[in-house]
């Protein structure tokens, strides 16, 4: 196509900057028929071909490199690179164009480039407008949907450049089209992934919020459980003490009376049995919940407990407290302190082998400190981690924002509980 001699009329427009570059854009002709058509109808092509041919005829090196360039453009597969005449009809075609748009060269050369646009774009005369802009501004760039031969669409990046000769006469347009579908897909995929990521993050935050909420609920539940347990124990303890205990007291008094009315001996075994029952009921009641705690406060309850423990276990308890006299505290706090000391002393009695325990209870304006120390064999690390009594102490303290510490005291073990009083006094009601 290109190498054919040109009609005379086409020769005069020679010499232009674009020629060298544009000439290489020329593909091989698809058919002889088209060839003729193009030769006759498309000035720029003819013009350039003319130069190329002239160079080739001259056998110059420039001619050879034009050929190489032509082959280069021809073989580019990633870009559709082709020429349009001034009206927008396709003049040339490369492999990239064929790959991207689906037309073979002979199918498209000579057809108007609006073929590549969706019907609605064609209807609105968008393709013509693109050429107008390119004509006016020298160049037009756009991104948009284009149609392949099979009717499918792809996302294209398009650059249309107006080609003018030295006198500024418009000779046609170059069009470089890139299929951005892949990029578009990647972007879409990135967008989707980002959206998914945002969703996941949101879900994660929601889950975290739920976990925090559940943790709070659990803490409340555990605190309720402690309270319910304390209340139940208190009720059972009261029933045992006030009802069964009083009946047994009455029985004991009656037996005493009968015994002294008789010989003062005969009922002694019965009196002793009644006394034993009474002691057992009292101890049971007391261990469940010391009645003295509510009525008389922490100190009487503790003294009562120490007395009983010393009798039962032969453990000697050395108790120091400040201030003197020791004040009444909110019920929850008194119960907590009592239970912690009870728990700790039970451990001392059961596990330490110590004969002495030392307890310091110290109340200041803003905190209450309890220290329970024994002089026995010392706590093992597993016991400190797993002890049920210890976790109970910790839970009770947590409810009062208190701290719990257990450490070796060489010899023995030191249990320390620290309770802030300002929080406790404002939060805990009687």
């Amino acid at each position: 196509l290109i190498r054919k001699p040109l009609p005379d009329g086409f020769r005069k427009g020679k010499k232009q900057k674009v020629s060298a570059k544009v000439a290489v854009l020329l593909p091989l002709p698809p058919t002889a028929e088209l060839e003729a058509q193009v030769m006759n109808e498309h000035q720029p092509l003819a013009l350039m071909s003319q130069e190329t041919e002239a160079r080739q005829q001259a056998g110059t090196q420039a001619g050879q490199s034009d050929e190489i360039f032509r082959l280069l453009v021809e073989s580019v597969k990633d870009y559709a690179i082709f020429l349009l005449d001034v009206e927008g009809k396709v003049l040339t075609w490369n492999q990239g164009a064929e790959r991207i748009k689906g037309y073979r060269a002979h199918e498209i050369i000579g057809r108007h480039f609006s073929q590549f646009y969706p019907p609605e774009a064609v209807e609105s005369k968008w393709p013509d407008r693109e050429l107008e802009i390119a004509k006016k501004e020298g160049r037009f760039t756009d991104e948009g949907l284009r149609v392949r031969k099979d009717g499918t669409t792809f996302w294209a990046h398009v650059v249309i450049t107006a080609l003018r000769d030295a006198q500024g006469v418009l000779k046609g347009f170059s069009k470089v089209t890139r299929d951005l579908t892949e990029r578009q897909e990647l972007e879409e995929r990135t967008r989707k992934l980002n959206k998914e990521l945002r969703n996941r993050v949101n879900q994660l935050q929601e889950t975290q919020r739920q976990v925090e909420l559940r943790t709070l609920e659990l803490q409340k539940l555990s605190s309720d459980l402690m309270r319910v347990q304390d209340d139940e124990r208190r009720k059972i303890s009261r029933t045992l003490h006030d009802e069964l205990g009083q009946e047994l007291t009455s029985l004991k008094i009656e037996l005493d009376l009968q015994n002294s009315a008789l010989d003062g001996k005969r009922l002694v075994p019965a009196i002793e049995a009644a006394q034993r029952s009474l002691s057992k009921v009292r101890n049971l009641s007391y261990l469940l919940h010391p009645p003295l705690l509510e009525e008389s406060g922490l100190l009487p309850a503790l003294h009562w407990y120490f007395d009983g423990l010393e009798k039962r276990s032969e453990l000697h308890v050395n108790f120091d407290y400040k201030p003197l006299p020791f004040p009444r505290l909110p019920r929850d706090l008194e119960t907590t302190v009592f239970r912690i000391i009870q728990e700790a002393l039970t451990n001392v009695y059961r596990h330490s082998g110590s004969e002495d325990a030392r307890i310091d209870l110290n109340q200041t304006a803003d905190r209450l400190t309890i220290r329970i120390r024994d002089f026995g064999k010392g706590i093992s690390s597993t016991a400190s981690a797993a002890g049920v009594g210890i976790s109970g102490m910790k839970e009770r303290l947590r409810q009062l924002n208190g701290e719990f510490k257990i450490s070796r005291a060489e010899p023995g073990t030191m249990v320390e509980a620290n309770i802030p009083l300002i929080d406790t006094l404002t939060e805990v009601s009687f």
Partner: protein, 146 residues
């Protein structure tokens, strides 16, 4: 309250001017929240010649009203009771009826309880199951007063 105090002081005056003729039984106010214990204690105390349980109350609050009305020679109070416990009742009685001897009768017989009870104005603290000790304590108080 002022009216009661007024009546009380009048009665106090009476009590003193006639102070215990030999043949008049000693009047005891018995306070315990358990009806069974009250019953048994009453029988035990009235078994002693020259004593009678003139009034009974089920808690500290009732005890104060009953004491004002009855003007007993002695009150025996359970330590642990609902509404008002023995210690609080003792504290109030020892200020309104200073000459009334008070005995606390308790299950919780510890030095700390004893200290608290004595500080609230009680003369004696006796373990609840030791009926003979209680009788001995009451005897001692009456002997000292007489």
């Amino acid at each position: 309250m002022t009216e009661i105090l007024h009546v009380q002081s009048l009665q106090d005056g009476f009590g003193e001017s006639f102070s215990q003729p030999f043949n008049v039984p000693r009047c005891i106010l018995l306070v315990d929240d358990s009806a069974s214990v009250l019953e048994s204690l009453k029988r035990a105390l009235e078994g002693v010649a020259g004593w009678r349980v003139g009034g009974e109350a089920l808690n500290g609050r009732e005890a104060i009203a009953e004491a004002a009305a009855l003007q007993p020679d002695l009150a025996i109070l359970d330590f642990s009771m609902p509404v008002m416990n023995g210690q609080d009742a003792a504290r109030e009685l020892s200020s309104t009826m200073a000459r009334l001897p008070l005995v606390i009768f308790t299950t919780f017989h510890t030095p700390e309880i004893k200290r608290q009870a004595i500080s609230s104005g009680c003369s004696r603290v006796v373990a609840k199951t030791q009926i003979s000790e209680l009788i001995a304590a009451v005897h001692q108080i009456f002997d000292n007063v007489a």
